[in-house]
């Protein structure tokens, strides 16, 4: 064959490779810009007191974000406690009953729910919970966040379990193991790493949500640990401080943003770790 033709193909190949590499590099730039900016602005705010002190009135120095940090953790924890068990059970149903009508409709609604704007979820929960209970509350915020987590947990559980070969189920059934034990003691443990990492990613995904909390958890300048009362959270605090006219509050918002970012990065790292540590060779 003509060597010029081959050379031409080589050039084309390399060009294509170069473009692919360039674009995957470009994809990392936004993340690094965000990280750089937030760290530059936030790092000087962060110290031990910042984490454990309550906010101070404008003008006084040395305030912290203890209420927002604890509030965020609590709201997210309650959301996870609501969404993860529901999501795993629904995911099991979907993977075990692929062709049922109900499975089709719940799969569809999970997919649509993932696309619902979070502010809409917030408003709906406002009408469901906040109005009847006549009070903003951390619980209502958790419900709104749980509604956002649910479809993620459902779908990752389903997809994980679908990848587990049927032969393990058959082996267990042939030993005379009842169906519910086959699912809980064989199928779910085989998919544990996938289910756990899906759940952790869902937590990471909602930890920074602001919109669903605006009309639900509402925010609170004081320390509160009662989930039936309004509660502060990091995203709400960042929002409130960032739109305030005070420079000092702007700086604290940057600090809080950095804490939130670290939290989410840690969750992502933990997910990677869990996936590696608990992976089961099928």
């Amino acid at each position: 064959m003509d060597t010029r033709f081959i050379r031409y193909r080589k050039v084309k190949n390399n060009l294509f490779k170069g473009i692919v590499i360039l674009f995957s590099f470009l994809c990392t730039i936004p993340l690094f810009c965000i990280l750089y900016y937030i760290i530059r602005k936030g790092i000087k705010e962060i110290n031990w007191h910042f984490l454990i002190r309550l906010p101070m009135p404008v003008g006084e120095v040395g305030g912290g974000i203890a209420n927002a940090l604890s509030g965020s953790m609590m709201i997210v924890l309650v959301a996870a406690v609501i969404a993860i068990p529901f999501g795993i059970l629904a995911g099991i149903y979907l993977s075990e009953n692929k062709d049922k009508k109900l499975a089709y409709w719940s799969r569809l609604s999970a997919d649509i729910m993932q696309g619902i704007p979070s502010i809409v979820t917030g408003i709906v929960v406002y009408f469901w919970i906040v109005k009847p209970m006549k009070s903003f509350s951390a619980l209502s915020g958790s419900v709104a966040l749980a509604m956002m987590m649910l479809p993620i947990v459902v779908r990752t559980t389903e997809e994980t379990l679908l990848r587990i070969p049927n032969s393990f189920k058959e082996a267990a059934l042939a030993l005379g193991v009842p169906y519910h034990r086959v699912i809980l003691r064989v199928i779910v443990p085989c998919g544990l790493s996938g289910i756990l990492s899906g759940s952790l990613l869902a937590v990471a995904r909602i930890a920074g949500e602001t919109a669903p909390l605006l009309f639900t958890a509402f925010g609170n300048p004081y320390m509160n640990v009662n989930i039936f009362k309004p509660m502060q959270s990091l995203p709400l605090m960042i929002y409130n401080y960032a739109i305030s006219p005070y420079d000092q509050w702007h700086n604290m918002a940057w600090g809080a943003a950095m804490i939130l970012l670290i939290w989410i990065l840690l969750l992502n790292l933990l997910t990677k770790l869990v996936t590696k540590r608990w992976r089961i060779q099928l």
């Binding site: 082996a171 059934l173 042939a174 030993l175 005379g176 009842p178 086959v182 060779q281």
Partner: protein, 252 residues
């Protein structure tokens, strides 16, 4: 036949409208090794899976006729109890990937929530692995995952898992078709050894294997039981035309 453990009379099985096992009548003797042979798609696997009621797990599966374990209709025994009495080994080795070798052997007890003392468990594990001719190879690595073993070892682990439940009958569906010749012959030896204490029914595609290890052979053809006889008899002078053709390799 005296000493019959499984007795079929006009037994039929369907997948929807697909009549897969047609009016099978046969007696399977205790502590014998019975081979089930026939061209692929003739219903061997389906027949085997009727014996421990795994067939009914398929949507729109159906059966008719009589299939007895001793005096009891299999379809009157609760499937969970039945399957603890009738063990099964599959075509592809399938040790549980989330369990160690040790836990795989006692999986039938663990998963069924049957409590055993540590000593009882240790005994069952050693005994079953010895019977499955795997003990010497894995005695030092019992805590390792079963999936690290070779294919042949995994299949012997699956046999150990089945016999750990002390079943009456052991069903094997082409247990060596995914294995190399060395692993195959070690499993054949093992089966010959096991038939002293267990009734074994093995589906095999391999005529030499049937000839080597089985006492009786059942030949299925398109869902019918074409011929059922002592293995020697059947290979020397098959009575049915379809069996003759199969044995002489006129179709496969």
């Amino acid at each position: 036949m005296e000493n019959t453990i499984i007795k079929c009379e006009n037994f039929n099985a369907w997948f929807g409208d697909n009549h897969v096992v047609k009016s099978v009548t046969m007696d399977i003797p205790k502590n014998n090794l019975t081979a089930v042979m026939g061209p692929s798609g003739c219903g061997k696997t389906t027949f085997l899976r009727c014996i421990n009621r795994m067939h009914e797990l398929a949507p729109d599966a159906r059966t008719e006729g009589s299939l007895k374990l001793y005096q009891d209709e299999v379809y009157d025994i609760h499937p969970i109890l039945l399957r603890q009495k009738i063990g099964m080994v599959f075509q592809h080795p399938n040790p549980f990937p989330n369990m160690s070798i040790y836990d795989n052997v006692v999986a039938g007890y663990k998963l069924n929530g049957i409590k055993l003392s540590k000593a009882e468990r240790d005994d069952i594990v050693e005994d079953s692995l010895r019977k499955a001719a795997l003990w010497m190879e894995v005695r030092d690595t019992l805590r390792k995952k079963g999936t690290f073993l070779s294919g042949g070892q995994q299949q012997r682990l699956c046999i150990a898992r089945a016999i750990a439940m002390k079943p009456e009958v052991l069903l094997l569906d082409e247990p060596t078709s995914a294995l190399d010749p060395v692993s195959t012959s070690s499993i054949e030896e093992l089966l010959i050894d096991l038939k002293k204490n267990y009734t074994i029914i093995i589906v095999t595609h391999n005529m030499q294997q049937a000839a080597r290890i089985s006492d009786r052979t059942a030949f299925f053809y398109m869902g019918e039981l074409a011929e059922y006889d002592h293995t020697k008899q059947m290979f020397i002078s098959p009575k049915d035309k379809r069996t003759q053709n199969y044995i002489t390799g006129r179709f496969s």
